[in-house]
Point group: C2
Chain length 391, copies 2
């Protein structure tokens, strides 16, 4: 067993070792992915975060001791291999490593709960029970890496555009916004709730003079959904800008989405390959359809939708098929939008609210907020809300 306090377990990740390193000594650490023992030669595939590298052990060239070490390798055992890089057309990345030293860091317990080589499919229950092994599969860890790229790009976008990052409370005294069920908590002797959204907090921050704020954080919704489209705990990206119109917000959102897509395409090529997914990156401006047009489109496709209704699943589906890719729905009726949404100046029955859609999926929504005290009071009344519960 190797010294666990040893300074470094690798000189390279698998994806960094190619034919250009032929003849050099490298050290990699990873999980034994596959072993093929042909008698005179043993092949071991070693998997790490970024790829797979082949260890090749020809018995003629290696000591008996070394061969015994190689043969003792079993699937998912963690080993550190030091060795010489050699070109090999048949191996992953076009190279194999001829070992000069092998350290076993931890031995796996067989049988494995699931097979990370994916030759044997696992049921969802098995995958969740052995989630730590499920994530070892590159097509599963690809999702984590792409999510990381999305978060990285989004945060830097906000930092670069002079937004201040805020962290709003997740423990809240009362439900104020409506629209969803909240999880109740026992907060010492009182009842409290888990926040459904930082919405009202970020809007209040605008009154502080910070101008632009954002938060990427968890939200909690106690809805008993049984769909693929709703979660009780989710990550939400929220941004708020002062002295801006809803058009400005749509511009920013579109630019942000395009930045994210472009960075994922540039920086997550191998992850997209692992997922077998090609990104749909729109070059043109996202089209905008008004809510009125949406009602017409949906009805023209033989799905019923009354004016003033939200989109149901059937409506979302036919609209998604018609619009394809990314688009905004604008000018929602004021009646079905929250109290803080600014009506349109020249037609107050319609509002500055918009949704950003990708096909039939709502990605984001926004609006200009009401900044006039009297208009806000009017809205409280129209929506049957008590202003006192917001103070």
């Amino acid at each position: 067993m190797t010294d666990i306090f040893e300074k470094s377990k690798r000189t390279h990740y698998s994806n960094e070792i190619g034919p250009e390193l032929a003849g050099e000594t490298v050290k990699i650490t990873g999980w034994v992915h596959e072993i093929r023992d042909l008698g005179g030669i043993v092949f071991v595939l070693i998997r790490d975060k970024n790829g797979i590298t082949q260890l090749t052990a020809p018995s003629k060239k290696l000591s008996e001791e070394m061969m015994a070490d190689v043969r003792a390798a079993r699937k998912e055992t963690i080993i550190t291999v030091t060795g010489t890089v050699q070109e090999s057309a048949k191996a992953p990345n076009g190279v194999e490593i001829i070992p000069s030293n092998i350290d076993v860091i931890n031995v796996s317990k067989l049988p494995l709960p699931l097979d990370p080589t994916e030759k044997v499919d696992a049921e969802m229950d098995t995958r969740l029970d052995a989630r730590f092994m499920d994530i070892r599969k590159h097509d599963v860890s690809a999702i984590f890496k792409i999510k990381n790229e999305i978060l990285h790009t989004a945060r830097n976008y906000f930092y670069d555009h002079d937004f201040t990052e805020i962290n709003t409370p997740k423990l809240v005294a009362s439900a104020t916004e409506g629209g969803t069920e909240l999880f109740p908590i026992t907060y010492f002797e009182k009842e409290a709730f888990l926040g459904q959204s930082p919405q009202l907090y970020k809007q209040m921050m605008m009154a502080t003079g910070l101008d632009n704020v954002f938060e990427i954080g968890q939200i909690f919704r106690a809805e008993e959904h049984d769909t693929l489209r709703h979660l009780n705990e989710a990550l939400s990206m929220d941004a708020e800008m002062s002295f801006r119109s809803h058009e400005d917000v749509m511009d920013l959102l579109e630019d942000l989405i395009k930045n994210i897509l472009s960075n994922v395409e540039s920086n997550c090529q191998s992850e997209l390959e692992d997922l077998g997914h090609e990104l749909d990156i729109p070059k043109e401006a996202f089209p905008k359809v008004t809510y009125d047009e949406v009602v017409d489109i949906v009805n023209s496709q033989d799905v019923e939708m009354e004016y003033g209704e939200d989109l149901n699943r059937a409506a979302e589906k036919v609209l998604g098929d018609t619009m394809g890719s990314y688009y905004f729905i604008t000018e929602w009726p004021s009646a079905i939008k929250p109290f803080y949404v600014m009506p349109l100046c020249d037609d107050p029955e319609k509002s500055t609210a918009f949704d950003l859609m990708y096909r039939d999926l709502e990605l984001s929504s926004g609006s200009q907020r009401i900044h006039c005290y009297d208009l806000l009071l009017d809205q409280f009344e129209k929506k049957d809300l008590n202003p006192d519960s917001f103070t």
Copy 2:
């Protein structure tokens, strides 16, 4: 009243307008901070996110209408001013703006709940009741801006060092780590809890092969503290690395802290000035004291501390006075550290656990984790924990 959909409310923030812009036309938007009406001339200080700019209105040069607009300004009203920059030795930033247009965006309601010019001090209750106004004070918003710089630096540090950002669940089925009280939630028909720390999740991520992960997110602790040092909801920075020793982790932590301090010093000069605070940036390596040495230091200062005890407040205080600035406490007794902490190879009664301290304040703690199955089982037994509750 101006058109609220107008494209841009400002060309500059206050701190961007200096004598080098003399003669140019600028547009600023902000809150009326102060008004001084001398009859023939009116001075209005306009405060925005980044500073204060003086609007100067000499009645001889401006129309009666414009003078009426200026005189109608009241404290905390939001206005947009377009005008010509003119040098003025007495004004903030050495410039004043002679207005050519004034738009009132929103009129404040008097009397104000508190005075953002801070000529009148406010009680803490008043400040919290009118928190949106409290944050208008530059010394209060400075804290938000510095926090933003800290988060920005920390996240980029992790991104740059090949960490994957993760988001672990905050709704958890049971308390597994101990050491604190949890908030109970009603999760549909079941009881659940709010997460006290992503600790075990990030450790489990190491078994997935992602190697380095981090999370910056909210944690919840249901302790009835009445101190300035504990919060029931707080933001926690967590990182975890595979195939690394506790020495490596301390190196990373020290480097991260130095990066944060250096970026705050470079990018938050005016915020530090607003707070009247000078940063203590250590140039040397953070000193390390072992737990044994800590016990000696504390006892030598006439504060009692038994071997095997955690540091109480009195002990933290004398230790902080002795050590000053940043330092690590290393080699904590294994007995008072969590089950997953790796003992020292050559002295298993002591552990790889460390704390990072700033004077008498614990900033962070860490350790190498146990990666050997049998040793971990041993530890469960020693700590009277049931392994089944961790599966």
